[in-house]
């Protein structure tokens, strides 16, 4: 493990040193390209005055809420669609269509409907999440081998029993994959919404990035970008990593 860390760390250090040196050599004091030290300086300041932590918390709160609502709705709708041909025919095409619509397109309507408040952000985030989760759930439940379902039904499994013992366990890898995708979409939608919409309540990471642009503080822009990447990585490692490892283990796929 430790030997595998050497290569990426060395590469990162080299990259940062090269970046710092080339900016200092060719573009000293440029308002466009901040040096890594300037970005670190911004980090330090923003950490000390609490603004970075506050913005991250605001954004994470919006993200979790949006994701929970979006994924919950997606699970429900996806399950319905998978088991009922009528429902699938009725809303399948709608979901497919809306999934291709970048959720930032909802911003103008969201502002009119919910005002420039949390409601608008929540709506945009949910719209970015729900359709992809729904389609993933529908697909993975539909692709459970029919033989399993028939065998279970022969043995008298019905309703919730069939769902909890056969359909959900069999389609879990696909559902988790869909959730992961939904999480990624929620994150993107939220960032787009925060950057484009002036929200009267709360100051999130997207607003912070936008302010960096307005004030020509590129170190702030890059710094916030780094935080956004970091949050994404952490969510992936802490939230989905264990679930995926457990899934692989219970399916005899080893530690991967």
């Amino acid at each position: 493990m430790s030997r595998r860390l050497v290569a990426p760390l060395a590469f990162a250090a080299l990259l940062l040193a090269g970046w710092e040196a080339s900016v200092r050599a060719w573009l000293p004091g440029s308002p466009f390209v901040p040096t890594p030290t300037a970005i670190l300086g911004w980090f330090w300041e923003a950490l000390l005055d609490g603004s970075l932590l506050e913005a991250t918390l605001v954004t994470l709160r919006r993200l979790s809420l949006g994701f929970l609502v979006g994924a919950g709705l997606g699970l429900l709708l996806g399950g319905l669609c998978a088991r009922s041909r009528t429902v699938r025919d009725a809303i399948g095409w709608l979901a497919l269509g809306l999934q291709t619509l970048p959720s930032v397109c909802w911003v103008p309507l969201a502002i009119l409907w919910f005002g420039q408040r949390e409601g608008a952000i929540l709506f945009v985030t949910v719209m970015g999440t729900v359709w992809s989760v729904m389609l993933a759930v529908q697909e993975s439940v539909l692709s459970v081998p029919p033989l399993y379902v028939r065998a279970a039904q022969t043995m008298g499994s019905r309703g919730w029993h069939l769902w909890s013992r056969i359909l959900i366990p069999a389609s879990l890898p696909g559902i988790v994959g869909g959730m992961k995708q939904g999480w990624a979409f929620a994150w993107r939608s939220l960032m787009a919404a925060e950057i484009f919409v002036v929200i009267l309540s709360g100051y999130g990471l997207g607003t912070m990035l936008h302010d960096g642009r307005e004030l020509l503080r590129m170190e702030q822009v890059v710094g916030v970008m780094a935080v956004v990447i970091l949050v994404g990585l952490l969510a992936d490692l802490a939230l989905f990593g264990p679930v995926e490892r457990w899934l692989r283990r219970t399916r005899g796929l080893g530690g991967g």
């Binding site: 004091g29 308002p31 466009f32 603004s51 913005a55 307005e214 004030l215 020509l216 503080r217």
Partner: protein, 334 residues
């Protein structure tokens, strides 16, 4: 081979004297009235540049909502010069350590105000505790003025909150939220100030009539090549001549600005009764033969704005303002 080289050399001056196309930024509001008038003259097929710029020089115009986006365009090389407020110029100046931008002309004073919504009658900055104040863009001149003024009442103002929330957003959005009562007050420029007072029942709480509100600034890059510099300085002189002409003929000024604004905003012309007082509240810079005093006065004003921006947290450091005025174009009394 040698002939070819000679031919190329001979062609060089021809390249160099190729007509310059100047790209100029402005905002479709009354504090940029000379730009509106100039654009309107162009629409009517009149050449307001003739005699001031090298023959063949063309001007292309680009509209922005507020200063920071214009500065971005100046630095990215998308435009050569721009009508702009002093605050974004100062922050660009500081961010490039005095190298990136030059102020060519002060254009106008006044024309901005803080307007409170109906039902909110503050007596001073201290009454804004817990309130929401809208400004046209983070770091623009009104945004800095608003933060400085609110702070002068003992309120803590920070970029993300504090005792009073200063919320920057585009002018049409400001009007919308003001009308809905979501913003308690708005600090912006004409014609938006007049719209807020006449259409939405707002009252003017505070005015800054002596404040420098619009300047003409150019990127240092556009002043490097002598041909381009000649055109940029020519543009400044043409603007001074245009100002003299319009000040001598207020009816023509009103007509041009009114038609120009309507064309810019793609809307019906604003009523003359509304436009006249709004336009009158914006005072064009006056010509003076005392160049040194003019420069000193400008430097003092800019220095004050610089300190306000520093205090408001818009700027993290300061830089002497003198280099900014290196290419100031003289405006002698005629």
């Amino acid at each position: 081979m040698r002939h070819l080289l000679l031919a190329l050399l001979a062609a060089l001056p021809a390249f160099a004297s190729e007509p310059v196309t100047l790209r100029v930024g402005f905002f479709p509001n009354l504090t940029h009235a000379p730009a509106l008038a100039a654009r309107q003259l162009e629409r009517e097929g009149k050449d307001w540049l003739a005699g001031h710029v090298p023959a063949g020089t063309k001007v292309e115009w680009f509209a922005y909502n507020a200063g920071p986006s214009a500065v971005e365009a100046l630095f990215a090389g998308s435009i050569d010069a721009s009508f702009i407020g002093p605050s974004p110029v100062l922050s660009a100046h500081v961010r490039t350590q005095g190298k990136g931008i030059r102020l060519l002309l002060p254009i106008a004073y006044g024309g901005n105000a803080l307007v409170a919504r109906p039902g909110f009658a503050p007596k001073g900055p201290a009454d804004f505790k817990g309130r929401r104040v809208g400004t046209p863009q983070l770091g623009n001149t009104q945004d800095v003025d608003a933060r400085a003024w609110l702070a002068s009442g003992g309120l803590k103002v920070s970029l993300r909150g504090g005792d009073v929330h200063v919320l920057p957003m585009a002018n049409p959005e400001l009007v919308q939220l003001f009308a809905k009562g979501e913003l308690d007050a708005v600090w912006t420029v004409e014609p938006w100030v007049s719209r807020l007072t006449s259409e939405f029942g707002g009252t003017v709480v505070h005015r800054k009539d002596d404040a420098l509100i619009t300047v003409l600034a150019a990127s240092s890059k556009s002043l490097e090549l002598s041909v381009r510099k000649e055109a940029v300085v020519g543009l400044a002189r043409a603007l001074l001549a245009l100002r003299d002409r319009l000040e001598a003929d207020p009816a023509e000024k009103l007509r041009l600005v009114r038609a120009g604004l309507a064309a810019e905003l793609k809307s019906a012309p604003v009523a003359e009764s509304l436009l006249r007082p709004a336009l009158a509240s914006i005072l064009p810079a006056k010509p003076t033969s005392d160049a040194a005093a003019r420069r000193a006065r400008l430097a003092a004003q800019l220095d004050q704005s610089l300190r306000d921006a520093r205090a408001a947290g818009i700027l993290r450091s300061v830089h002497p303002v003198e280099p900014l005025l290196e290419d100031l174009v003289d405006d002698p009394a005629r």
